[in-house]
Subunit: 327 residues, 2 copies
């Protein structure tokens, strides 16, 4: 008997049109040619590319602050640097609600303010206060620094507000950290948030899962696992096994998780990372919703906060939080 | 300003491993090489291939009847030939519940008993009675015969049981017909079912939607829109515009729809057909759930009813029906 997983097959080259089934803003994003990523080789090279990427975020973040009229202020919580993102008008219903944001960036990108875009967009669409954690990252601070920081902030927040009034969210690495945070909180017997929204979570740091292959080169943002994601995973793990559930939470426990809403796109390299977590949550009896957006590659619901698809994605999550959070 | 949808890009040939993230049964199904489909050219050629395909269903259907210990009996409802599929044990809770099944097969395949497999599997996993409609099909009976039959049966069923105790389901063409049935019922001011489960619905009979391209040749069942699906669409439409909402319900109205659960797979040629409907339902404020299965091509949750993924998919739908149907 042959092992079917030892078999492979070749899909011929194909021409992909930009779909006509998305908004004009999203069509522009989907039309972008994929850029073959490269991987830095030294700590200094990492720092250089991270700095350059962070600088490119300044303008989109300034635009989002204007679009949503939120304020962003640095703050320390449990000694960890964070940003408090406050909507222009917080309703009485939202007065005691807090959303904890864990930014994306392959555990190495998006330090400081450059990691706040998603928090700003969420605060804008939800009308809820967001705390975005500027967690430590490699090359200076590999695993478990990022998770230690996220857990420390969560622990402190549970002393300030009712956990039933709080949710945790984030995309990509932030989605994986959201899952790992709940699993850590369970082990530490901390209170759990009332809901979570892991967006296209990096739930498996190895290239395990179908869409790592089916959407290779189809996803025009992440493009492929090699060489950048692979290098970032190893940089973060610092020798710890990549399938350790603390790094790849899809291999962890999902029993007792709070209600979850997961977001991805049909072209997302992390479609399987998202779908696999959704199935695990459903198997564990958790109220989990899956939202998949037409034509979108990894995290493109955040690529243009003025696109109708961004409004749709973030309002869906905000509605979900509103239904599950106490007041 | 260039129209982004006029742009295309080429994805190079790729090697797809069979994912290790599915059950051994599902891995076998995913490992099947895709068969380049051909399209019959004459009515006689259509009848020959339809007959051959129907004959191949006899053994899987017999096996499913044994697996689930259901009985399958021909019956006429409103003059339309149907099959009543009755579970071995119908609980008191399910005594007055009926699930209306519309089979798949590109509007031309799966006549008579050969269309009952999904109804049998659903009756087995849900413990609910299923009525499977043997609706008329081309080449002898093109549009609107199939929908006329489906609507006539639904209308008669609403006289026999409370609509609040009934759901409608089906995959592929049966999923598209499920959506079109609700839209027809709304126009005719008939009562609506309490829930629907359109599986990977053929919601757009044109090759509009991203996954018609991204999953071309990746889906090892449907493989591609040309030439077979395209030919079947034209055979059924018989000159009516393929984007007429009665043929492509994604272009119809979704306001007032009952709660829906949609099922698809990451490799499904109809991933976009499913996702687009889910988004329309959500935009219309409908309680719609989307379930996407790892590595599956079109309708493969039905490819081996003994696979754990089949149990998972059908039990998820059964749980959804149980939550929404009256007793």
């Amino acid at each position: 008997m042959t092992d079917p997983t030892a078999q492979t097959r070749t899909v011929p080259a194909r021409t992909l049109p930009v779909p006509s089934t998305v908004s004009p803003q999203m069509a522009k994003i989907i039309a972008r040619p994929p850029t073959a990523p490269t991987a830095p080789r030294t700590a200094q090279e990492w720092k250089t590319v991270v700095r350059a990427a962070a600088d490119r975020e300044a303008e989109p973040i300034a635009a989002a602050i204007r679009q949503f009229a939120v304020t962003v202020e640095p703050v320390r919580i449990a000694g960890i640097p964070c940003f408090t993102i406050t909507p222009a008008n917080v309703s009485a219903r939202n007065a005691h609600r807090v959303l904890l944001h864990l930014h994306g960036g392959a555990y190495v990108f998006a330090p400081g303010r450059s990691g706040t875009l998603e928090g700003i967009v969420m605060a804008g669409f939800s009308g809820m206060k967001v705390i975005s954690v500027d967690y430590r990252m490699p090359p200076d601070h590999p695993f478990p620094a990022a998770m230690d920081d996220a857990v420390a902030v969560w622990k402190e927040l549970t002393r300030r507000e009712k956990p039933a009034n709080m949710a945790v969210f984030g995309s990509s690495t932030g989605g994986g950290m959201t899952l790992a945070l709940v699993q850590s909180a369970q082990k530490l017997r901390l209170a759990l948030p009332a809901a979570i929204a892991p967006g296209t979570p990096w739930s498996d740091l190895t290239n395990t899962g179908d869409s790592y292959f089916t959407n290779e080169g189809v996803d025009n943002g992440l493009v492929s696992y090699e060489p950048l994601l692979s290098a970032a995973a190893r940089l973060y793990a610092n020798g710890v096994a990549l399938k350790d559930p603390r790094l790849s939470p899809v291999y962890g426990n999902f029993k007792g998780f709070p209600p979850a809403i997961l977001t991805t796109g049909t072209r997302d390299l992390f479609l399987s990372n998202t779908v696999r977590v959704h199935r695990k949550l459903r198997e564990a009896g958790v109220d989990s919703r899956l939202e998949v957006y037409e034509g979108q590659s990894h995290g493109q619901y955040l690529a243009d906060p003025t696109a109708p698809e961004s409004k749709e994605a973030f309002e869906d999550i905000a509605t979900f939080f509103d239904a599950h959070l106490g007041t």
